[in-house]
Amino acid sequence: MLLASIILHAVQPIRNERSTASIYHLLQGKRSAQTLQDAHMYGLTNLFGIYPKLSRELFDQLAQDLLENKIQVTETPIPYFDGMAYQSQTDTFLYRLLLLLQMLSNQANGEKHYIPVTDQAQVQYWVKQLYRQKQLQLGHWRSCLYEELYGLLEKLPEMQAGLFVDRISGYQHIGLTAAQLAVKYNLQVVDVPLYQTSTIHYFLDQVRANKSLFPYLGTLVEQPKQQSHTITSTAHKTRMMLERGLTLDQIAAARGLTENTIKDHIVEMTWLEGRRLASRFIGEADAAVIMDCAEKTGTNKLKQIHATLNGKYDYFQIRMALALRNEQEVET
């Protein structure tokens, strides 16, 4: 089992110093100073963020069983990963590729009606743009992508190549789910995404190292974004307490800070992370009303918005709504 082997591999340097939870954060790709520091200190940067969807429950159970020697696993060789370099690009590249292949395959057969393999609006938009720009060269794209992919897959283990190709949906052929792939290749379901991620990291690495050899796959690579914001550790503490269900005044009292400072933290985190925390403090409909008001009056001034809305919302709520709006602007 690959996941088990990865956990055992990561445990060795970390053991005695850090909890197994830190391995979870590492695999899951938590953007905290501690996790990043761990990755560097213990030489595990390649594993950073290789399994964003890993379930905590599953991980805890497996880690416990492994460390208490309750289960014996046959050591599985760990395939190529470079999480620190590629984790932020993996998803976009993978889905662009899958949707592009689906489009090309259907287009080659004159089929216009098919359900796209991904819902992600940005990916759909990207492929649509490409379609518009390259309408007359799609046949060429198809054969060139084929050549590039074929060459890369040839160098991977047969199983990994098979896992990748069987997942592709195209003309009159629908790709397999992770569970189906697991049966077909005699794997544990949890290992399937790991192998797929490894394949994508390998693609990304080859494309980066040999740009001239992979001009078509190269266009699928997203230009790396600016370093993402990281929240301050004091705000982080506030979040942990919020997540434990404490109220604002309880947190303020426990930390010896004013309630306004706590509110500052919440606004900061909302701005950086989006709705996750916000829903506790402001409903979507209310947020929308405030955003509309800000847009119509063309101001971000709290006082003015407060007055325009007849004092219906307090300053904190308005700041939260504006923070949510900023989030949108930053992302798009």
């Binding site: 080659a108 359900i115 789910t177």
Partner: protein, 506 residues
């Protein structure tokens, strides 16, 4: 008008003819009458509101409780090239929801989940539209589940009034006369033109087989699959069983592609499995009741019930997925006497226990006493009291009705709280009784020795039509002489090289 509609059908769907009932319902809708349509599953209910959306100006709002069905329909419409369609439900992330809400007028067809309609802001936006038709899909939810779990459906009458009474179209696949009356009443006593079509499909034969235990059930099932060898759906009451029997079939019959499907899977995976079945890559689906709605596959030949649903309505709907092409198809129920434990257990699980309700009220009381009158979030409640989310929503609705909760604030009054506890106990008890009666009817059908067709549809229609082929085991029919015509299932035995070549046509 008939020719207009027919031309539109040809233009938008490529069909020459309407299926049973579609034309009659459309004519009523196009004349802006409130309409109740009871159409058997598989006759394409959605055409009844999609066509008006494409043909006329103004918006068509469709309320549906089936979120994944909603998503599927939007995807299918978009795939066909109808882009002015959107769905508003909890699947959407914040940005997309806002995007849709801000541009409501740019859609011709808008699917909305009932809980989204509780949002005042959305309602105020909807009020600015020219709504040409308000559709209540799966209208039986108002009655069958509505009293409890679809509490949002009960508020639809109010929504319709707030939206200045647009023409309403209530659609359902199954409804007893009582449920039909209920729908009309709960939608605000609307005067509706009724179009009720018989549900007894003449090309489906019914067989029931008792087995001693699970092993015999599996063997019987495998033998049946070998005999029929055609697209098959097998229904289970548990996700785990659907998964493990799918594995069993794969091992025993590797040449028949088989997969499982249930509500616990990721949306992306569910769509893949559904499409594989439609594309003929899969022959057998082991699933829970989550599968089937909106899956328009014509040649499903066999429906096996490994477990029975809790009521005849659900059974009729599930069986109705067979033989939409009009060719003879088969329903087989496999049961052992121990099976009756499962639905009773499920019924109990669905309803909150009195002890949990008391615990909840004690907890809320303590909060009020401590000065915390804000209604706590469900996640917070869950930390203290084992209570399902649907149960919580049901209780919340009841608490609002009793003025215990007002505008997200708790209000304490000893008498109202006491009354509330008593009334809830009675309500839960009644509901349980009702469900057990439904289950009893299903059970009677299994044990009957008269014609199954007659008994199955007895509560739904006055006369039952004769079968076009085999009728049922009690009428002396068997599957011994069933002519096996193996269908070829697309095999992907080819290696990745061939597969990639095929996909990209190299």
């Amino acid at each position: 008008m008939k020719t207009d509609l027919q031309q539109a059908l040809k233009k938008y769907y490529g069909y020459d003819q309407f299926r049973t009932g579609q034309l009659e319902i459309l004519e009523s809708v196009m004349q802006n009458r409130h309409t109740l349509g009871v159409l058997p599953t598989g006759t394409g209910k959605s055409v009844c509101y999609q066509l008006p959306a494409f043909m006329r100006s103004g918006q068509v709002i469709v309320v549906s409780p089936l979120l994944s069905l909603m998503e599927d329909q939007v995807k299918q419409l978009r795939a066909k090239g109808f882009k002015r369609v959107a769905a508003l439900n909890s699947f959407l992330n914040y940005e997309d929801k806002q995007q849709v809400t801000r541009n409501l007028a740019s859609y011709d067809l808008l699917y909305v989940s009932p809980e989204m309609l509780q949002n005042d802001y959305l309602i105020s936006r909807l009020m600015q539209l020219e709504i040409q038709l308000f559709v209540v899909d799966e209208a039986h939810c108002i009655s069958q589940w509505g009293k409890e779990f679809r509490t949002d459906y009960l508020r639809l009458a109010e929504v319709v009034r707030t939206l200045r009474n647009p023409p309403v179209l209530a659609l359902t696949g199954t409804a007893t006369p009582e449920v039909q009356t209920d729908i009309q009443h709960l939608l605000g006593d609307l005067e509706m033109e009724k179009h009720i079509y018989p549900m007894d499909r003449q090309n489906i034969a019914y067989f029931v087989q008792e087995v001693q235990d699970q092993q015999e059930k599996n063997e019987t099932m495998l033998a049946l699959l070998r005999k029929i060898q055609a697209p098959t759906i097998i229904y289970f009451s548990s996700r785990n069983m659907a998964e493990s029997v799918a594995a069993l079939i794969r091992i025993n019959m590797p040449d028949m592609a088989c997969a499982y499907y249930h509500g616990g899977m990721e949306n992306e995976d569910r769509i893949l499995i559904q499409q594989q079945f439609l594309a003929g890559q899969l022959q057998i689906i082991c699933c829970t009741s989550a599968f089937g709605m909106g899956v328009d596959k014509e040649d499903v030949r066999l429906i096996i019930h490994y477990h029975l649903p809790n009521d005849k309505e659900s059974f009729i709907q599930e069986v109705g997925r067979a033989g939409r092409d009009g060719k003879e198809s088969v329903s087989v129920v496999l049961y052992s006497t121990g099976d009756w434990q499962i639905p009773v257990h499920l019924i109990e699980q669905d309803l909150p226990e009195q002890s949990s309700i008391q615990q909840l009220m004690r907890n809320l009381y303590q909060r009020v006493k401590a000065g915390m009158t804000d209604l706590p979030a469900y996640e917070l409640i869950l930390q203290h009291i084992p209570i399902g989310e649907t149960q919580w929503r049901f209780l919340l609705y009841q608490m609002e009705k009793h003025d215990i909760v007002k505008g997200n604030q708790l209000q304490y009054n000893a008498q109202t709280w006491k009354d509330f506890l008593e009334q809830i106990e009675k309500l839960v008890g009644d509901r349980k009784k009702h469900k057990l009666v439904q289950l009893q009817r299903m059970k009677e059908w299994v044990y009957t020795d008269t014609c199954r067709r007659q008994i199955l549809f007895a509560h739904f229609q006055r006369t039952v039509r004769p079968a076009s082929g085999r009728c049922c085991d009690n009428c002396g029919d068997t599957l011994q002489d069933w002519e096996t015509v193996p269908v070829s299932v697309q095999q992907d035995a080819a290696g990745w090289r061939e597969q990639l070549r095929f996909l990209l046509q190299q």
